[in-house]
Subunit: 351 residues, 2 copies
C-alpha cells in the first residue's frame, strides 16, 4: 500500500493535501452548501416560530464552527491546550463577524493522565472563556486506553450570533482592498517547536494564543465594510492568502518588508529552516478591508493590546490569468515569488 | 501515584466516577448554568436584533450538544463509528424536544489509516445524516502520529431549534408519571463486545444505532405533555434512571418483567456476566410521560419502525426518604433491589 492510500501526517498540516482530503472525502460525501464555502465558520439560518401577530417568519442567522486540538506538548511558553481550544473556536466564530456566545468542550482523555494536568487545563479553559466572554454550556468525556491517545485531545464547537452585523466571507474580497495582519507572524509555531525539542533561544519566544473576538469587534466598528477576517493558523499566512484569493477569485500580493516578525522568531525560523509564511499563528487575525477604511481598521487593531504590532501587508488585485498562481510575495529584495501553500508537512500537531 | 490521581478507564464509562469527574473538574472550573442542568443538550437563548417596528427583542431558543466517539472496532454488526457519531448527537438534541438541524464533524485521524476506511465511514455519515434529515455544515481534520490514536476518533456537535416546542428536561418528571422505553435493551453493547472479542453467538446480535429524532417528534405529537426523553447510552438504563430521578428529586421504579430484551442478548449478557441495565444502547429512547398520555406515547413509539418493541417499564414516585436510593428495580421474581449506577468499568469505548 502506498502513502497515497493511507492517512499521512501531511493530511493534517493545513496545506494542499488537507484541502484535497476535504474535497475528495468529506465535501463529496456529505457536504452541505455551508461546508463548501471555505470559511472558518458555517453561517446557518434558523427560522423562528410563527409570530401570529406578525404574519411572517423571522429568520435568524447563526455562526457554527468546530475544531479539535491535539497539540504536543500540552503546555508551552505562552499557553496550553486549554487556552488554544477556547481561543481557536472563538476566533473562527469571530472571523465570520459573529459575536461568539456559547462553546462546547469535549475531552478524549488517555488512561494514566494525571488529574493535576486535567485540573490545570480546566483552569486555563475557564480563564480564557472569561477573557473572551463566552459560556461553556455543554461537554463530553471519553477515556481511551494508555497508548491510544496522547494525554488529552480537546474538541470545542461554538455558536455565535450576528445581531446587526452581516455575515462576512472570504468571497467578498475585491481588487483594490488592503490586507492587514494584527501582529507578528510565527510566534506560536516556533514556540511549540522550541518546547517540543527543548531548544533554547537567547530570547524568550512565546505563543501568541489568544481570543481575538474583542479586537475583531473594534475593527468592524472602525471599518464597517471589512470584507472578511481569517486567522492564519495551520498553513500560516500562505494558506490564508491562497484560500482567500481562491474564494474571491482574485489575486493577492503580500509585501514581505511590511510583514511584522519578531527578530528572535525570524532567527529561530531561519535556523530551523522554516518558512515564516507557513508557520501557524494562534493569536493573529488577517483582515481584508476596502482601501478607504484601511487606516481606520489599522488604528483599531493597534489600539487593542493584542494588535499593537498590526500592519497593512498587501493588497487584493484582479484574478490572475488562467493557469497562473493567485498568491504572490514581493520580497524584501524587490523580487516577486509565488506564495506557496504548504504541500507536505511542516510542523505537525501545533494546534 | 494512586489510581485516584490519574485518569482510569472507568472515568469514561458513564457511571459514578464520570459524574464525579464532571462535577469536580469541569463544572467547578467553568460550568455555566446550562452545563449544570444535567440534560444531554444545553438550551441556550440568543437574542434577535432589535426589530424597530416591533419595539421588543425576540429571544430565540437553541439546543446545542457535543459528543466524541472512540468506539473500537470501527465497524460492527448493525453500524459503524460514522453512524454512531451522527445518531448520538441527533439523539441528544432530540431529547430536549428540539428539531436537530445542523451538525459539525471533526476527525482525529491516526497516521496509517487506510483511505478506504475513511471513505466508508464518510459514506455512513452521509447516509445517517440523510436519514435524520440534518445537514453537516462545518468540520475539522487533525492527524496524529501512528500509535497516538486508534484509527479514527470523531467528534460531532449539533444545534437544533425548538419552533413551537417548549424545551424538555429531566427536571420535569413528577410522581405518577410513566416511564417508557422505545425497544429492547443491550443490543449495542453486546454487539460491540461480540465484534471486539470475535465471539460468535447462535443468533446474530446487531447494534441498534439509529437516529431517533423522527420517533421523538411522533411521541411529542401524541403526548404533548411528555416531561423528557433520554437515550440510555453509556451507563445504560440504570444511569438514565438514576440521573432523571436525581434531576427531578423523585424516585423511580422499573418493572424488570416489562423491560424488553432480546432472548439472544439476554443470553449473551448472562454468559458474559453483564448487567443488562448497565449496557449501552445507541438506538433507544426513554420517555417520561404523564399517566393519562402514556398509552398514546406508547402507540406512537410502536408505530415507528424503530420503536416496534416499545413498552411501559416503570413509574415515577415521590422523593425517597433522606439517605435512601432513588432508583429501584422490581425484579421478575417479585423482589425489589436498588438499580445501581455503574461504579467501575463495564464495557469501555462502546460509543
Amino acid at each position: 500500500m502506498t502513502n497515497s492510500e493511507q492517512i499521512i501526517m501531511a493530511h493534517g498540516s493545513g496545506g494542499e493535501m488537507m484541502r484535497e482530503l476535504i474535497a475528495k472525502y468529506f465535501v463529496s460525501a456529505y457536504g452541505a452548501a455551508e461546508l463548501k464555502t471555505g470559511d472558518d465558520s458555517a453561517v446557518v439560518t434558523l427560522t423562528a416560530p410563527d409570530q401570529p401577530s406578525q404574519g411572517q417568519q423571522l429568520a435568524f442567522k447563526l455562526a457554527f464552527t468546530t475544531d479539535s486540538y491535539v497539540v504536543t506538548p500540552l503546555f508551552f511558553s505562552g499557553g496550553d491546550i486549554g487556552r488554544l481550544a477556547v481561543s481557536g473556536t472563538v476566533n473562527d466564530l469571530a472571523t465570520s463577524g459573529a459575536t461568539p456566545l456559547y462553546l462546547s468542550v469535549a475531552f478524549i482523555l488517555e488512561e494514566g493522565l494525571p488529574l493535576a494536568t486535567l485540573e490545570a487545563i480546566c483552569a486555563s479553559i475557564a480563564a480564557t472563556a472569561a477573557e473572551a466572554k463566552v459560556s461553556i454550556v455543554t461537554g463530553d468525556t471519553k477515556v481511551v486506553p494508555h497508548g491510544k491517545g496522547d494525554g488529552i485531545y480537546i474538541n470545542t464547537a461554538g455558536v455565535g450570533a450576528f445581531n446587526n452585523q452581516q455575515p462576512l466571507s472570504g468571497r467578498f474580497c475585491q481588487p483594490g482592498d488592503k490586507i492587514l495582519v494584527s501582529g507578528t507572524l510565527g510566534d506560536h509555531g516556533v514556540a511549540i517547536l522550541a518546547a517540543r525539542e527543548t531548544l533554547s533561544f537567547q530570547a524568550e519566544i512565546a505563543s501568541d494564543v489568544a481570543p481575538l473576538n474583542h479586537l475583531v469587534k473594534q475593527v468592524l466598528h472602525a471599518a464597517p465594510q471589512t470584507r472578511c477576517f481569517r486567522d492564519p493558523t495551520r498553513g500560516g499566512l500562505a494558506a490564508t492568502i491562497n484560500e482567500l484569493a481562491s474564494q474571491s477569485q482574485t489575486s493577492m500580493t503580500i509585501d514581505e518588508a511590511a510583514v511584522p516578525v519578531k527578530v528572535a522568531v525570524r532567527g529561530a525560523a531561519e535556523m530551523l529552516g522554516l518558512d515564516i509564511f507557513q508557520i501557524a499563528n494562534e493569536g493573529k487575525m488577517v483582515a481584508v478591508v476596502p482601501p478607504d477604511q484601511a487606516e481606520s481598521a489599522l488604528a483599531a487593531m493597534q489600539a487593542d493590546p493584542l494588535g499593537r504590532d498590526a500592519a497593512i501587508i498587501g493588497e487584493v488585485r484582479e484574478a490572475p490569468p488562467p493557469g497562473l498562481p493567485a498568491a504572490w510575495l514581493r520580497t524584501a529584495l524587490g523580487a516577486t515569488r509565488v506564495l506557496d501553500m504548504l504541500v507536505g508537512e511542516q510542523l505537525p500537531r501545533i494546534c
